[in-house]
C-alpha cells in the first residue's frame, strides 16, 4: 500500500511490521519522530511491545543488551550526542553478539549546537562492530530496517540503519508499505540458539583472559565477513517478496566513466541528477553509491571503480587530522591494485549545509581539471577561516 510519510515514520512502520518485542529509547532531535510514532503504535495496540522509557541513551542500549540476551527482538533509535553517549555499549552489543537494530539519524556533533545532518556521528563509530547501512530515501529506510532485523539475526551482530537528519528523517515521500503477510514471509520470528534462562544457566560476557579473547574477537570478524557474503542472498529473498533491491553498492553509468562520484545518503539523489545532466552534455561521468559501510564492500568497490581514471569522493563527515572517512576507505580498498584511479576527496555539507547540484557539478569540474589530487581533501564552499594558535610556545 502506498502512503505518504516521513523517513522517521518509515522506520516506525518497519519496526511495527517486524513485531519488535522490546523497544528502549531516549529522545533527541531529529530522532524524536521515530520514537513518538512507535509510542503511538504501542498505545493503540498496533504493536505488542514493551517500550522502555529510560533515563538516557546509555541505559536505552543497556536495557536492550539485557532484553536481547534474554531472547527477544529489540530496537532503539538515536542520533549524534546520543550515539556518542552510547559508545561504550556499542562495543558491548557487538562483543556480546546481540542482533539489536538501531535507527541512527545523522546529525552533527556539538559544539556549537547543530541539529542538522552530518555523518561524523555514525562514522566515528565505525570500529564498534556494528553493521552500518546508509539510506537514500524513505522507501529504502523502510526496506533496510526490515532487512536489518533479518541480517542481524542471521549473523548475530547489531545493525545500524542510518538516515540523514531532516533531508530524510523529516521529508515526506510516497512509500510502499508491505503487508504483514509479506513481512512475515521475509522475517521469521526471532529464536536465538542461546539465551539467558534458568533451565540452562550460563554465564554471559564474563572475564576473558588473553588465552581466549583474540579468538572471540576473530569470531566477530568472521560474522562481519559472512554479513558481506550473505547480503546479496538477503536481498534476493527480499526482492522475491517485495520486488525491490538496493545492493551493498549501486553503480550508475560507471562502465565507461572517466570520473566516478562516490556518495552515500541523500547526497546520492542530488548526484544522480548531476550525472544525468552531465551525461546529456556528453560528459563521461558516473556514480557509485555506498549503502553498506560496515562490513566495507571493498571488492565491489574495486570492481566498479578500477577502470575509471579519477574518482571523486563526497564526504559529509570528517576525521580530524586525517580526512573524509569514505575517501580514506575507498583509497584503502584501491591501494593494492596495479593500475588504480586517482582518488580526489571533497568535504561537503557539514552541519547540514546544502549540497547543491551546482556544488557537485563544480566538484566534477575540479576533478577533470586537476592532473592529481591534492595531499589533503578539499573543503568545498568554505569562507576563509583564519588559523588561531594556542598561547603556549615552542
Amino acid at each position: 500500500m502506498w502512503q505518504v510519510m516521513e523517513g522517521s515514520h518509515a522506520v516506525a512502520e518497519a519496526v511495527r511490521l517486524a513485531g519488535v518485542q522490546v523497544i528502549s529509547a531516549y529522545p533527541i532531535t531529529p530522532q524524536t519522530h521515530i520514537v513518538e510514532r512507535i509510542s503511538e503504535f504501542c498505545a493503540a495496540g498496533l504493536l505488542e511491545a514493551r517500550f522502555l522509557r529510560v533515563e538516557s541513551e546509555h541505559s536505552a542500549l543497556a536495557a536492550l543488551i539485557g532484553a536481547s540476551t534474554a531472547g527477544v527482538r529489540t530496537f532503539t533509535a538515536t542520533s549524534s550526542q546520543g550515539l556518542a553517549y552510547m559508545h561504550e555499549l556499542l562495543h558491548w552489543a557487538s562483543g556480546a553478539r546481540l542482533p539489536i537494530v538501531m535507527a541512527e539519524v545523522n546529525r552533527a556533533l556539538a559544539p556549537g549546537w547543530n541539529i542538522w545532518t552530518d555523518q561524523t556521528d555514525s562514522l566515528s563509530q565505525r570500529d564498534t562492530g556494528w553493521i552500518q547501512l546508509y539510506c537514500e530515501d524513505g522507501q529504502e529506510v523502510l526496506d533496510t530496517t526490515l532487512q536489518a532485523f533479518r541480517l542481524a539475526e542471521w549473523v548475530n551482530l547489531p545493525v545500524m540503519v542510518v538516515l540523514d537528519a531532516f533531508f530524510l528523517s523529516h521529508t515526506h515521500e510516497p512509500v510502499q508499505v508491505p503487508s504483514q503477510e509479506e513481512v512475515d514471509r521475509f522475517l521469521p520470528p526471532f529464536s536465538p540458539s542461546f539465551r539467558l534462562n534458568t533451565e540452562t544457566p550460563c554465564a554471559f560476557n564474563q572475564l576473558a583472559t588473553p588465552a581466549v579473547y583474540m579468538e572471540m574477537r576473530y569470531s566477530i570478524q568472521q560474522a562481519m565477513a559472512s554479513a558481506l557474503e550473505r547480503f546479496p542472498q538477503l536481498e534476493d529473498a527480499f526482492q522475491t517478496i517485495m520486488g525491490r533491491r538496493y545492493g551493498a553498492v549501486e553503480e550508475v553509468s560507471t562502465a565507461d566513466a572517466d570520473v566516478i562520484l562516490v556518495t552515500s545518503g541523500t547526497v546520492t539523489s542530488t548526484a544522480r541528477g548531476v550525472v544525468e545532466a552531465l551525461r546529456n552534455r556528453g560528459e563521461k561521468v558516473g556514480l557509485l553509491k555506498i549503502k553498506l559501510f560496515r562490513p566495507f564492500p571493498a571488492e565491489a568497490i574495486r570492481r566498479h571503480l578500477r577502470r575509471a581514471a579519477k574518482v571523486a569522493v563526497l564526504d559529509r563527515n570528517f576525521s580530524f587530522g586525517a580526512g573524509g572517512i569514505f575517501a580514506q576507505e575507498v583509497r584503502a580498498a584501491l591501494c593494492n591494485l596495479k593500475d588504480r584511479p586517482q582518488v580526489f576527496g571533497y568535504i561537503v555539507g557539514l552541519g547540514g549545509r546544502d549540497v547543491t547540484p551546482a556544488l557537485i557539478t563544480e566538484i566534477c569540474r575540479k576533478t577533470w581539471e586537476r592532473a592529481h589530487p591534492e595531499e589533503a581533501d578539499e573543503w568545498m564552499g568554505l569562507t576563509e577561516v583564519p588559523y588561531e594558535s594556542g598561547t603556549a610556545g615552542p
Binding site: 514493551r50 541505559s59 539485557g66 544457566p201 554465564a203
Partner: protein, 295 residues
C-alpha cells in the same frame, strides 16, 4: 543467634575472591534466599572476577556480566524480555558494588526505580572501588584511607546514605543487611523476592584487603559496624514506613575503628567527632522509625 539456612547451595565451592571476602559470603546468603529461579546481572566490580573466568562460573544461576554503570538498566531490559516471554516466576537481580551503585550506576538506578521497574537490586558495600585497587567512592566513610585519599588527604566527606536516597524514590522496599546477621539477611531477601516493583538491599560486606584487616576479623568487624550504630539494620517500606530490625549494644565507634588499618591515622579527636556524627545519624533514624526496636 541461631542461623537457619536452606540446604541448597547455588554457589560452587571454588571462587577467586580474597580469603575472608565479605562479598563472597554475602552472595552465598543472597542465593540461599533467592533460589534457582533467579537471573543475575553483575556490572564491573570485584564480583566480575570472583565469579570466575570463561569458561568457568562460580554461580549455578545464569549470570549476565555487564558494563560498570548499567546494572539497573540491564535488569530493566531482562525483566521486559522475560515478561514478553511469559516467564513471570523468574526474579531478576542486580548485584553491584558500592561504586556501581552509589556513583557511576546511580543515574541508571535512580531512573529505573523511579519507573518502579520490577527487580531486586542488591548492593554489596565494601566502601571503596576494590576491583581497581581500593580507590575512594561516595560510600567510603569519613576518615578512611584509600589509595586516592592517602596520607593527610584521608576522606573528609560523609558516606552517602544510599538507602535514604532510594527511599526518597518511594520504592516498595529498601533495607540494609549485614554478613554478620545471616538470618536477618536471608529473611530480607525472601521478603524482597515476594514483592513486585523495585526492591533494594544494601549489604555491608567487609573487605580484608581494602580495609587493612586480618581476614579472620571480616565477620566480627561487620558485626561491630551494626553494634556501634555505624551500619544499623533497618527496612523502609513504600519510602516512608521505617522498621529498625535490631537493637544495638551501642559500642563506641573507636572500638570498630581501632581494628582497621584504613583508619589508623585518625586521632582521638577525630574519633570523637566521628562518634558524634554516628550518634546524630542514629537519632535521625530513630525519629524516622518513631520507636526504639523492642527486640
Amino acid at each position: 543467634m541461631k542461623v537457619e539456612l536452606p540446604d541448597h547451595e547455588l554457589m560452587h565451592s571454588g571462587h577467586v575472591g580474597c580469603p575472608g571476602c565479605g562479598a563472597a559470603v554475602a552472595m552465598r546468603f543472597l542465593l540461599n534466599g533467592l533460589g534457582e529461579k533467579t537471573v543475575m546481572v553483575i556490572p564491573a566490580c570485584c564480583w566480575s572476577i570472583i565469579a570466575g573466568p570463561y569458561p568457568q562460573s562460580t554461580l549455578k544461576v545464569p549470570v549476565l556480566h555487564t558494563a560498570f554503570e548499567t546494572g539497573a538498566a540491564v535488569a530493566t531490559g531482562i525483566r521486559a524480555a522475560l515478561d514478553v516471554r511469559g516467564e513471570r516466576d523468574v526474579t531478576v537481580v542486580t548485584w553491584a558494588g558500592d561504586g556501581g551503585t552509589f556513583d557511576i550506576g546511580f543515574q541508571a538506578l535512580s531512573g529505573a526505580v523511579e519507573r518502579n521497574e520490577d527487580f531486586l537490586y542488591v548492593c554489596y558495600d565494601n566502601e571503596a572501588y576494590m576491583n581497581t585497587g581500593i580507590q575512594r567512592s561516595s560510600s567510603t566513610p569519613y576518615g578512611a584511607w584509600t589509595t586516592t585519599t592517602p596520607g593527610r588527604d584521608w576522606k573528609k566527606m560523609r558516606k552517602k546514605n544510599i538507602v535514604e536516597a532510594l527511599a526518597a524514590h518511594r520504592i516498595p522496599y529498601a533495607a540494609t543487611a549485614s554478613i554478620a546477621y545471616p538470618d536477618d539477611l536471608v529473611a530480607k531477601v525472601k521478603k524482597a523476592r515476594s514483592i513486585r516493583g523495585s526492591r533494594f538491599i544494601h549489604i555491608f560486606s567487609s573487605c580484608p584487603t581494602g580495609w587493612r584487616i586480618p581476614s579472620e576479623l571480616s565477620i566480627k568487624i561487620a558485626r561491630m559496624a551494626v553494634q556501634t550504630n555505624i551500619f544499623p539494620l533497618y527496612e523502609v517500606e513504600g519510602g516512608v514506613r521505617y522498621t529498625i530490625n535490631l537493637k544495638p549494644k551501642g559500642y563506641l565507634v573507636k572500638e570498630y575503628f581501632r581494628l582497621q588499618g584504613r583508619f589508623s591515622h585518625l586521632t582521638e579527636e577525630d574519633l570523637d567527632q566521628i562518634q558524634e556524627m554516628v550518634e546524630e545519624d542514629w537519632e535521625l533514624l530513630l525519629r524516622k522509625a518513631g520507636t526504639m526496636p523492642s527486640l
